[in-house]
């Protein structure tokens, strides 16, 4: 047996402060009317730091700082000068990427190999990409001289804390807006480290403001009368509430919400790579991925064979310490999320499906859930309809391409889909018919700053990334 010895990434590169204030007007300040909460390491439940909870007054102060910066500095600044700041931020992210990656894994629970090899390279790439647009907006296809909106309120989720920050802040700043960003309450720390990077880059005060806190802080931000734009990534439930809150106002809104993506495997698929794609589709980032391939649709003629390969592959997944460089699956982000995953998985068992997990030892402390598949699932089961947002895969079967399309589209969501076939014509035929913002061909969970990302139906509206991502922050 080839036993890999522990290979932990060093924590010493991260210097955590015991407590963090809010980042408003270019400096860290104490909240005036909010309290504080602790941020813990979900892999050990160890307290990492005390974080300020912004109240209504704090949100107001941040929005005013953003407004001032927009009016006096950032709005009037030529695009080529804004670009310099964004390029500088991108380079600083690269320089400090190890520190950011370790902190991301500590605070979020995701394996270091993902924060190091996926999250951080993409974060830097997004800033580089949008930095390039800042002085070329005249040529982005929105007519001459498109104008920024003003102050953007941005609320991001806990699954990709820094990456979602980059998706929000990079295009907003490139187009000349200023922002107030609220990170998720379980994963505030890398956003605060990003605030330090803004200081290091000499970004003018008030262009980026970070107000930490939970749902109430977010509500205060969304409902603030002086924000021109709201961008939200998170649950469909909260997204609907935000849509109601801004309805009837001039505030522009983009929402990136949940998903229940189909990953469709045909009998002529490259099987070994399809199995990798299935694993990557649902177990990447513990399944805490809005576009996760959580519904596996297998053509019946190869279902048993693919499932056998999938089980063999799942037995190799290494669950444990997120900082170990060989860990494939880290910790569930919070106790609340773990409870939700358990509840839905139990519902799956109760509905009479077959549940399977590879033998795997879970750590005693922290929040953990073994990679799990359910077979014998039908469309009517809750685990085939509701977003689980965890390492849980529902396996369904189909007989014909038409049936695959029908089942794949039979969901209120529509964020992403994957198709596995060696037949090019079939791939294109499906891509035309699948109602999903992204269709991956013989791959899954591939991201790139040049590619727009967004959903159909209850997966939200608006696009982030690429040239399309500029539109959400321009007055066009």
């Amino acid at each position: 047996m080839f036993e890999y010895a522990p290979a932990p990434e060093s924590r010493s590169v991260v210097r955590l402060q015991p407590a963090y204030g809010l980042f408003v007007g270019g400096e860290f300040v104490d909240p005036t009317d909010g309290g504080s909460f602790t941020s813990i390491n979900p892999a050990s439940e160890e307290v990492l730091a005390e974080v300020a909870a912004g109240g209504v007054g704090d949100v107001d102060r941040a929005v005013r700082a953003a407004r001032t910066a927009y009016d006096r500095v950032w709005g009037p600044m030529p695009g080529r000068d804004r670009a310099k700041y964004l390029f500088r931020i991108a380079r600083l992210i690269q320089e400090r990427s190890r520190e950011l990656a370790v902190l991301e894994s500590l605070d979020n629970g995701k394996p270091i190999k993902e924060s190091r090899d996926v999250d951080l390279p993409l974060v830097a790439a997004h800033f580089f990409y949008y930095a390039g647009w800042a002085d070329k907006l005249d040529h982005a296809g929105f007519g001459p001289g498109p104008r920024p909106l003003g102050v953007a309120a941005q609320i991001i989720p806990w699954n990709f804390p820094l990456l979602m920050l980059a998706w929000k802040i990079a295009p907003a700043l490139a187009t000349g807006n200023t922002v107030v960003l609220k990170p998720a309450e379980t994963t505030s720390l890398t956003a605060l480290l990003f605030a330090e990077i803004c200081q290091q880059a000499d970004l003018p005060a008030g262009v980026v403001n970070i107000v930490t806190g939970a749902g109430e802080t977010g509500r205060a931000l969304v409902e603030h009368h002086d924000v021109d734009k709201v961008a939200f990534t998170g649950s469909t439930e909260v997204g609907k509430a935000i849509a109601r809150a801004v309805a009837g106002t001039d505030t522009k809104l983009t929402l990136e919400l949940g998903g229940k993506a189909a990953n469709i495997v045909f009998d002529d698929a490259p099987v070994d790579q399809a199995v990798e794609g299935i694993v990557n589709g649902i177990f990447f980032n513990q399944g805490h991925v809005c576009c996760a391939g959580s519904r596996l649709l297998l053509q019946e003629s190869v279902a048993d064979q693919v499932l056998a390969s999938l089980r063999r592959r799942m037995a190799l997944l290494r669950v444990g310490d997120p900082l170990d460089k060989n860990t494939d699956i880290g910790a569930i982000n919070s106790a609340a999320q773990l409870a939700r995953i358990r509840e839905l998985a139990d519902a799956g068992t109760a509905e009479g499906t077959q549940r399977w997990s590879p033998p795997c030892e879970l750590p005693e402390r922290g929040f953990w859930f073994a990679p799990t598949i359910f077979t014998g699932v039908i469309q009517a089961h809750r685990i085939a309809r509701e977003e689980i947002f965890g390492p849980v895969l529902s396996v369904l079967t189909f007989r014909t391409p038409a049936e695959a399309v029908e089942k794949a589209n039979n969901t209120p969501y529509g964020l992403s889909a994957g198709v596995w076939t060696e037949k090019g014509s079939r791939m294109l035929w499906l891509a035309d018919r699948l109602r999903a913002g992204v269709v991956w061909a013989n791959t899954f969970n591939k991201f790139d700053p040049t590619s727009p990302f967004g959903g159909y139906q209850e997966s939200g509206y608006g696009r982030e990334g690429g040239r399309h991502g500029l539109e959400a922050y321009l007055n066009v």
Partner: protein, 336 residues
């Protein structure tokens, strides 16, 4: 196991009797997605193997080395030195294991045999007293069949093979007929392997696919199955004589093939990447690939080998580093 393989399980042995059946089978194997295969190999390349795991892997890798010299300039003196090194790679450390095999041209086999097995009629290898006890033998591999191009009449290839076995080789590394393979004449490739298999007698047969000349992963998978169906004991990536030698994704595809072949037939076949594997880091990446593709059954010199020459010294340097904590300079290791 592949669907095709499953349905064909009962008549896999019949395949070699018909060009049509052979073609239908090989072209019915599932495709390999190039991007996905390369991504998987790259991901496994990021595994971090440290401390005890590294020490274990280095010793295993040493035992898997087919210490190779395949030069026109090879002389009896050169290959004798190599054979001596194969028996005792690190004269300063008796706990260091011997390598898996020595691999030379047929004309050099007798000189290697002298060192490994002792003079004809003698009792045991010359280095027996020094070799670690109970560690098995160092095999004697010879390339044959008009290596590396394979562009010779079949009779010449068979004579080449018989001569190598007669001189003492217990492993034969043959090359497939790429000309026939690339023109789709699978039957011819198959029949040649069967004939060489027969000419090899008791020797183990390693079949070199020369993956750099096959160019696509689909071809690598087909050639792997073709070789296994024809009776290969091992499938080997490369001769080391064309620029594109062993790569992790090519080896991954071949490992998947031996895994599926065993599931279909019950027979286990070994894998040997060769060429371009120079460092301990490279070797450990391959061992990770083996571990996470086919598992522990293949983590043994009987089932996985490295065709390499300079790799051994790097393994020895890293081994010394782990034991003593210091890097010794390259001059502290023998160059043969």
């Amino acid at each position: 196991m592949t669907a095709t393989a499953m349905s064909a399980r009962s008549d896999l042995t019949e395949l070699g009797r018909s060009e049509t059946a052979l073609r239908a089978f090989l072209h019915g194997l599932p495709g390999v997605d190039q991007v996905g295969a390369e991504q998987r190999a790259a991901q496994l390349g990021t595994r971090s193997i440290k401390a005890t795991a590294k020490a274990w892997a280095i010793d295993l890798a040493i035992r898997m080395v087919d210490l190779t010299t395949l030069e026109g300039a090879d002389t009896p003196g050169k290959v004798r030195a190599l054979a001596a090194k194969a028996l005792r790679p690190d004269p300063a450390d008796p706990s260091c294991p011997h390598v898996g095999a020595v691999c030379v041209y047929p004309s050099m086999v007798p000189y290697v045999a002298e060192v490994l097995r002792g003079p004809a009629g003698g009792a045991g290898p010359a280095g027996a007293a020094a070799a670690p006890a109970g560690a098995g033998v160092v095999h004697l591999a010879s390339v044959a069949t008009a290596f590396p191009s394979g562009q010779a009449p079949l009779e010449v290839k068979l004579a080449d093979t018989r001569a190598a076995v007669a001189a003492g080789a217990d492993e034969i590394d043959m090359v497939i007929n790429r000309s026939a393979f690339l023109t789709g004449q699978y039957q011819e490739v198959y029949d040649e392997i069967v004939a060489v298999r027969e000419a090899s007698g008791p020797a183990h047969l390693k079949v070199i696919l020369e993956t750099g000349e096959l160019s696509t992963y689909d071809n690598v998978r087909r050639a792997s199955w073709l070789a296994m169906l024809a009776g290969a004991d091992f499938i080997k990536t490369s001769t080391g004589k064309v620029p594109a030698a062993a790569t992790p994704p090519v080896t991954l595809v071949m490992l998947e093939a031996v895994r599926d072949f065993r599931a279909a037939t019950g027979r286990q076949v070994g894998v040997k990447p060769a060429g371009g594997i120079k460092t301990t880091k490279d070797a450990i990446r391959y061992l990770v690939l083996v571990n996470e593709t086919v598992g522990a059954d293949w983590l043994d010199p009987d089932w996985f080998r490295f065709g390499a020459s300079s790799l051994l010294n790097d393994l020895l340097m890293q081994r010394t580093k782990l034991t003593t904590g210091d890097y010794a300079g390259p001059d502290h290791f023998t160059r043969d």
